[in-house]
Amino acid sequence: MRRTTLPLAVTAITAAALLLSGCTPQASSGGGAEATGLDTVKVALVPGGPHPYFQPWIAAADQAKTDFGLGDATFNETAGWDQTKENDVINSLVANGYNAFGVFGVSPTDINSTFQNLKQNGIASAALGSCPAGDVNDADFCLSTDTEAAAYKAAQATIQAMGGKGVLAHLTGVNVDSNTQRRIAGVKKAVEETNGAVTLLPDVTDIDTDITTAQKAVADLLASKGSEITGIVSTAYNPAVAAATAVKESGLPISLVAIDDDETILAAIEDGSVYATIAQNPTGQAYVGSYALAKLASKECTMADPGAIIDSGSFVVTKENVATYDDERTAASEQLMKDFDADHLVCS
């Protein structure tokens, strides 16, 4: 009897798995794909993990639910910056009846597999905030900041503030993220255009985990090279907040261009300690993205160009427009909605 324990167990495991799989309910393959009106659409917004950037998505999802009469709109950030966990979250939401997904993929190289799986089961999907790596987007569309263009704009603004010469430091996020590589490329492009007048220090990466990590990295950078640095461009949220405070407290003559519109950064722009920031459009991504997803999931519309990559906009905020830039952003979101209706969606 002893010798048969393992084979018996393996047989039992296989039999149990077969038995369970045989009980798969009919709904498993549909995932709500038969919806005919927006009130039958349940939109799920799934960020890659907890991050302040995604907080506007919560209000935008609620607003979209009300404005468009959606069946439901939820926000779930339990992925914890792990692609497998994010897939698990998405799968669980599908099992709970959600049939339209706006996803910030943790791993841009792998998220297309997730989109393919959703598509095979008739579920609408959009890459929000980050497009898949490479030239192919298997989601219905990608609505995101053009990260390379935004980083290029930020670096250009920094170089302008530096007077066109000096030493530039670039603070950014996860090095293994292809979006970070795009940001690095954008900054390099702007520096190369100075024909050697600006020297770029090695990129400081992987410091967007949390504010403490960013604060330590910025403090170390200023302690070691603060006297030679004339400009800092941050293309990630936490380092931008940390650098805004550190540069102000140090009193060093460093021109700083940040990213996103945290209150600390906006206050620093107003008092002149930060030259500019590049605001993104997370609210527009979530609100307009939910609208388009609902149209696709309800089968009212299809994409004119499946997999289209659409820029959600980036906005240079300086002392001059710090009080009014949000109007510009709201207008951009309204234009995005019109663009979807006029160009991106083909409706019956």
């Binding site: 798969t24 393959s29 792990d82 709970n96």
Partner: protein, 362 residues
Amino acid sequence: MSDRPAVVRWLATPRFVLIAIIVVLVAVLTAVKPSFLNGAFVLAPLITSITVFTVVGLAQMMVLSIGHMNIAVGQMAAFGAMASGISFDLFALPLAAGLLLGLVAGAAIGALTGWIIARTGVNSFIVTLAMSFALLGLVPTVYSALSTGSAFVVKPEGFDLLGRSSFSSVCLAGWCGPAAIPLMVVPVLVVMALVGLLYQRTRWGRELLLTGSNVTAAELSGIPTARRIVMAHTLSGTLAALAGILLATSIGSFTPSIGDEFMLQSFVGPILGGTLLAGGYVSVVGTFLGITLTLVIRKGLELFGVGIETLNVLLGVILLVALSADRVREIRLRRGRAPGSAPGRPSGSTPDRTPDAEEVPA
């Protein structure tokens, strides 16, 4: 030998308790959330996770069997997967050759770890911790140097079939298999059987358990304990690499973050399943059941929309319970050994607990 009937002894094992809990849990989850039986979006991902993490658990179980631990199990997985990724991306090797290269890389890093432990006598915790740090730096550096966007994305023929296909793509006489069971279960069942046979039927397996049970007694018995230590860590590295490669095939590419989640789970499965931290006793099926229990709980919580913080708290609680259970079992074994029991005998031979297939030297 115990006088209790075999059935009674089986009912007293951690494996039966785990099976009972899993069955009750699945029944409750199915009753409350019928979507738990959704094939494509619940069962298939759940079974894929179970297969990958079972291999991770077996990797840890290998070194637990000699009373060691492998803190670097996740990084070894990343290292082995990286070798496979390089072979596909840079050298365009076919699937089988790339898999083999990844397993050899995992075996090599495991063997090096085991050799350092055997030669220096330094605690396995320290050596594998150091190895973990070394690989934590090495793997992302290699990815950054050799890939665009820090990922190897080239997929050879059969890559998606192994990682993302189910038995629904296996058809015979007009009938296809269930979509809920991924094809990945086949190689993992083979690996489970091989590991079980190693401990159950081979001299090497018995020597590993004896080394874990009492290294001095094992040496005095003529067992080359240093070689067995190297062997256990080599197999641990190989299995870790296999888990890393399987995870890569399931998510679609090779990235440095492969294995990040492996370390805690690698302990939970074996310990819940009855493997002793102190060495000398392992359970392949128990490891599988321990992993299954934690992942079923996790899946259930996900279906109820529970946040990541709660999931982590629960994982911590499960680990504490498992460690406490391990301690209780160890005390029971010591009590059982005390009178009339030869020192250094494998724990499976104690009067208090009759051994079963995976643990007993033949």
